[in-house]
Amino acid sequence: MARLEKISSALREAALATLIVAGLGFPIIAYRAEPDFNNALALLGRWPLFFQFCLAAFALRFALAFWRGGAAKAPIRERLWRSPRWLGPAALIALVVYPLAVVGLLGPQAALKWVDTYGVQILIYVLLGWGLNITVGLAGLLDLGYAAFYAVGAYAYALLAPATGLGFWALLPVCGLLAAFWGFCIGFPILRLRGDYLAIVTLAFAEIVRIVLTNWDVVTHGEAGLFGFPGLNFFGLPFIPGPRGFAAHAGLPFAGVHKLIFLYYLVLILALAANLVSLRLRRLPLGRAWEALREDEIACRALGLDTANIKLTAFALGAFFAGVAGCLFALRQGFVSPSAFTFSESALILAIVVLGGGGSQLGVAVAAVFLVGASEALREITFLKSVFGEGFDPAQYRMLLVGLAMVAMMNLRPRGLVSTREPTIKLPAGKIAAETAS
């Protein structure tokens, strides 16, 4: 009898959920407006998809209500997951060996994609994540305009390299310092602001930077962007075929992958440097002050800490690494345009930090690999194309899932962002580890 009641109540819940999903999905999923041959919008019905959503909602809600209904919600178990000691060194060795192994296995031509897209690109995001982690994860200052500093670094290299004739070794720190200077300039007026207002102002500044980059045609060439600036060289040896190139000096046959392998190690070293800097700084008074600021600004001030300095250093150091990453981005792409530095780029980097559990170095790296690598991997799978149609672009679904993941993270593990002291790792599927809420 009780069982019957349980089923009927679960059915009621499920019916309600289905009704809500039907309401949410009614025009937006059930129809799609597409321009027809007259260029007027015509509706395409997609009722099967709509009913699939409704059915899924019904099944999910029913299952949830049936198995969990009635009983009090079990508290989410806070399990401590400490990364084993060998994990760091093992990951490091894997990272060092990775490009050579890929070239050895696939040959220099097929390895291009693996070193570039899955190697260099992901490592740049890891570097960006660790940089933003200083501002957001350690100091607790929500920076929604991180892509602006990234843009400053990229444009600094693209503009200064042809103008000054300096190589990238000289320009790399210049890019970082310029971005840090911008971080300082933007950080200065917003020192007094509270958390959420501060976040919005950084967003406003970043948008202004992007609009200026888009419209200041004389310097930035607008939407078209900058290209043709000098690329990477190996301590003076350019990566070109012929006797003057790196390949001839090293006694190797010329291959495009050499440049990428060099860039890979360069990014790896810089990312590890960023990691080392933030790990060491956390043990210094400055790093302690950042974390204290994150926990309670008023208490900080009451204890005599100079919050202005603490905030500015957090902003400037975070921006410095973004500038370095921007320079590397310019070297990798060979061209820079404002469309690479939109708000959604800032949101993606922020998502890497948030999903990485803020303050946790390994977590941020794992999140970067997962968010950037997974969507690239999805692009490869031709099977998905046959299921979702030819126009299937996983990049769109990536940001959709990133958004959902941020919401889920905040709802299920909000303390992950603020209360971790030791580096912890966040894994999906509930195996998320954090220190128990303090």
Binding site: P27, Y31, L43, Y197, I298, V407, M410
Partner: protein
Amino acid sequence: MLAFRRGESGGAMEVFLQQLINGVTLGSIYGLIAIGYTMVYGIIGMVNFAHGDVFMLSAFIALLILLLLTQMLGLGAAPAFIVAMGASMALTALWNYAIERVAYRRLRGSFRLAPLISAIGMSTFLANFVTVTQGPNNKSIPPMWDQVITLTSGGAYDVTLSYRQILIVAVTGVLLAAFWFVVQKTPLGRAQRACEQDAKMAALLGVDVNRTVALTFVIGAALAAVAGSLYLLQYGVVKSTDGFVPGVKAFTAAVLGGIGSLPGAVLGGLLIGLIETLWGQYFSSDYKDVAAFSVLAVTLIFMPSGLMGRPDVEKV
């Protein structure tokens, strides 16, 4: 006076008047969105970052229902638009109710940035959800009600006021009056103001805080849906990334007017609309967004309580 100006400066006065009209129209739309920001901030102290995307979503819902009614049921444009606006208000309200329930309710007692980060996630989700379901390109509809009243003629430039613009300003005015009545005179409005002052105390005195907050989101979404429908009517085009910039501008309006203040939100909306159109006319239309973003930054830095807001005292 007018004749003198016309002769002297080639219709400068007319251009200014026309931009004033356009600015007020745009400002009405910003004002309607800004109310959603200001109410939510007032009641739970959260920057509802996804509100701009809710506005964009509502424009899409209105567009689809409009097409459905005109193409499948053969309704005329005017009744179809009114029905579409009503349906969009209801469905967008349901969306925002669901969003509040899923993404924000549990975070009310969390640390200050948690709801904002969740809202950023929700904003990203909504924009990409619409991109995925409706495609990334522009959706445009043929213009409606584009008859105009010519206010001045014979000069270098005719100043015109379209029926659309009259409708937009009139709808905004009527809704604001109705809304003002709700907040000032009804039990719901009283509960809202009570939660705004002290949610815990209000709960102790028998106010259902969850219900009040949910209704605030519902009302905010309904007003955003009106703005979305009117935006579609006025500009005739919408795309899935259109939520972000109008959203930030409407938030600017809310901050400029003094966040938490309803008349402030409308005043801020009108000001932002005017600043944007006049800046676009007299300085540079490429940089017109810079004007709005600068106003946002400057207001937050130098007068965070805005024009009509109460100063926010942080209690320890």
